[in-house]
């Protein structure tokens, strides 16, 4: 066991954990956050995605030992109903999610992609989002929402 200090959604936190425990369990179980979600525990789906120092990471496989001193942002820290990230606003406008359990993967990954490449083409977006899962099949609406957000970011 060791104590890990880091920042989550602008709050400084500390968690006692084994170094190999994935960040996801600290966020959910120790810090009581409702996001992100456990989808596979294998970095195959994206439901647990958060930003770590601005990079989209799969928190279900990221060990605590790699998190010390880092800045973690969850979807709840990306934007709020009052101050939404353009992607969140676009998701609401397009009514994208169905079950919604996959949402962290798509929104957090797309947010990181658009930060680097706000004008990403359809092909670049599909490439950057490869591997993320959405079981309800909302992919077409996801792309619509990202393109809507791009008009806000442009």
């Amino acid at each position: 066991m060791a104590t890990y200090r880091f920042t989550v959604d602008s709050k400084r936190v500390s968690v006692d954990a084994q170094p190999e425990m994935p960040l996801l369990y600290a966020l959910r179980d120790d810090l009581g956050l409702k996001n992100p979600h456990f989808g596979c525990g294998l970095a195959q789906c994206g439901a647990c995605t958060v930003h770590v120092n601005g990079e989209a990471m799969r928190s279900c496989v990221l060990p605590m030992s790699a998190v010390a001193g880092k800045t973690v942002t969850t979807i709840a820290g990306l934007g709020t109903p009052e101050k939404p990230h353009p992607l969140q606003a676009a998701y609401v406008a397009e009514g994208v999610p169905q079950c919604g359990y996959c949402i962290n993967g798509w929104v957090m990954t797309a947010a990181a992609v658009l930060k680097k490449n706000p004008k990403a083409s359809d092909a670049e977006l599909r490439d950057a989002l490869a591997g993320l899962k959405c079981r309800c099949g909302t992919h077409v609406a996801i792309l619509r929402a990202i393109k809507r957000a791009q008009t806000q970011l442009a």
Binding site: L31, K34, H37, L42, A76, V92, C99, C102, A130, V140
Partner: protein, 734 residues
Amino acid sequence: MDRREFLKTSGALVVSFSLPPIEALAQGAGKPALVPTELDSWIAILPDGRVNAFFGKMDMGQGLDVAVAQIVAEELDVGFHKVDVVMGDTLTSCNQGGASGSTGVSNGARLMRRAAAEARRVLVERAAEKLGVPAAELKVADGVITAGEKKTSYSELVGGRYFHHQVEWNKQVGNPMDIKVPAKPKQPSDYKVVGKPLPRRDVAWKVYGTDGFVTDVRRPGMLHARVLRPPRVACKVRSIDEASIKGIRGARVIRDKDFVAVVAPKEWDAVRAAQTLKVDWEPMATPFPPMDQLYEHIRAAQVVKRADEVKKGDVNAALSAPGVKLVQAEYEWPFQSHASMGPACAVAEIKDGACTVWTGSQKPHFVRDGVSRLLGLPEDKVRAIWIAGPGSYGRNDAGDAAMDAAFLARATGKPVRVQGMRADGTAWDPKGPACVHRARAAIDATGKVVAYEFVSKGFSRQHIATNESQPADSLIGQTLGVPPKPNQIFGTPAESYGFENKLLGWETIPQFVDHCSPLRTSHFRDPVGPEIHFGSEQFIDELARAADEDPVAFRLRYLTEPRHAAVVKAVAEKSGWNSLGKGKGIAFAERNGTAVAVVAQVEVDRASGRVWARKLWVAHDCGLIINPEILRTTIEGNVVQGLSRTLFEEVRFDRDSVTSVDWTSYPILDIADAPESIDVTLIDRPEVAPSGAGEPTIRVIPAAVANAFFDATGVRLRRAPLSPERVKAALAKA
């Protein structure tokens, strides 16, 4: 979501059920019993004039609650935004069957419409009495009742109190539950709210992470649990080495007969304990055939039950008539997994002899019934509360999680949260049944189809029931020794082709393993719909080509229902069928009153075997449209999930285990393969009562794609999925 309040206590989120106003009225003092005969079981007017509609089905992320709110607002004459739909809690709603068979609007909301119309009638009657004005002279606008200067309101008349008014119940429970009322619902021509593209209500909290899923329910003192499923098919535990998890903080084993679980105060410790615990299972010797012999197995298997659902004329005679051209083909569909976005989760707590279960199951009333039977508690001592889970497309792993949680809460005396690991949602959920479809037809010298036969043979779609009301239908029940009682049922194509000699039938075969089977079969979105129509609508295409006729013209020649022909015409027109380039395919089907036709245009990469359904056109007729925008996105989801099942999904197994355990071994559609466009034509028929939309479109996708693949390559793929390996192999052979 405002019915749940999340309180922050000692750093962890705790769900509090301190009953905000909605529930206070739903279960307050003096409330009549929660029975379908009480109007108060369906509608409540709050002191501020807001309306609660207590709905006994639930929305699975396709906006059903919005449709219900629109219908209730319409019939009651109140603003849409004043109506809250309260659903999924056995304490506040009657058992309308949960999410089931795309009946949310057709059955579920039909009842709500009647209840709302009756509430309005009663309120107007009471207003007439109060104001001393005949009811016919009263006007209602947004819950305010006026006659000239005289005025009262719903909230004044009954706000915060109960109607104490009886309605007539048809004595049915589940999907067919209905009521009869003297009130006459409005005519569609008078609709102001129904038909409007009003927005979803669950999007914002999901996008901002401001409310929780069932996975986010926390109770004070809660333990985390993982249930152990055997790595190889096994129904018996020989022994458990409890010392193997000795070093893991607070972890312990809970075992009863062949049910094994671990619990720990911290979730990560429960996960580690589940991964570490040494269990000696008694494996079964080769319960499954080699996977590459699955379809031979089905063909050769003994028939448990056969039903000829459509029988017209004498097919055999017509097939053997002299001079006819015989066309025959067989189609094969694999086991498929719900593979919900996350493995199922449930939380249960037992206090003062009463059990509360928080579940993502789409049928919480049946969870209540199942838990009550499992624990031997009276029904009124069990409360099941649905909270959005990680996806639900039928009988997935959610029912098992709910039963497991309840059992573990009793075994430990503490609130217990169960969530599976990935393999529990992929390898261990109930599966869509594998099947083979045999089709034969005869075409006479004039090119007319004179005989048509389509018979499906496969595993029953209800080896375990469609809901969790019986412990026999859950893994825990089976590990505790309750044998399942499979229902033998499959299905037939749903169409109106007017072939003069016609036989549509099905045959079911025995399960590989009676109980504790990872290949047990049950309902998966549009049960046996994609499976059957993958065959039947490809066969129609094969017949069209054998008769040297265009597939659209051929369908139009034989479809006898005008609404069926109308969707085929509409989709052909919208897609520009006649001028579309190569790689186009069409398919049509009906589903419980909804007609849908799809045109797909595919691109085939011969080198990689990739099939990309680049463009799709859908024409959809489900009668009266309640909300066109939500209907459109629901159809889109059907299309994409249908593409995934057509192109990628196949549960893999070896002789003694399911080897599809994650997203690598059970691939689904990736965004690279998402269509470029899905064009949806909605045919609104206000004069026709609404039918379902949650499933119909998915059944036509497989054949539309396979027909398009044939059009692109000249090769028929009669075995699903049309995966890259299979496509490459088929093209190499051609």
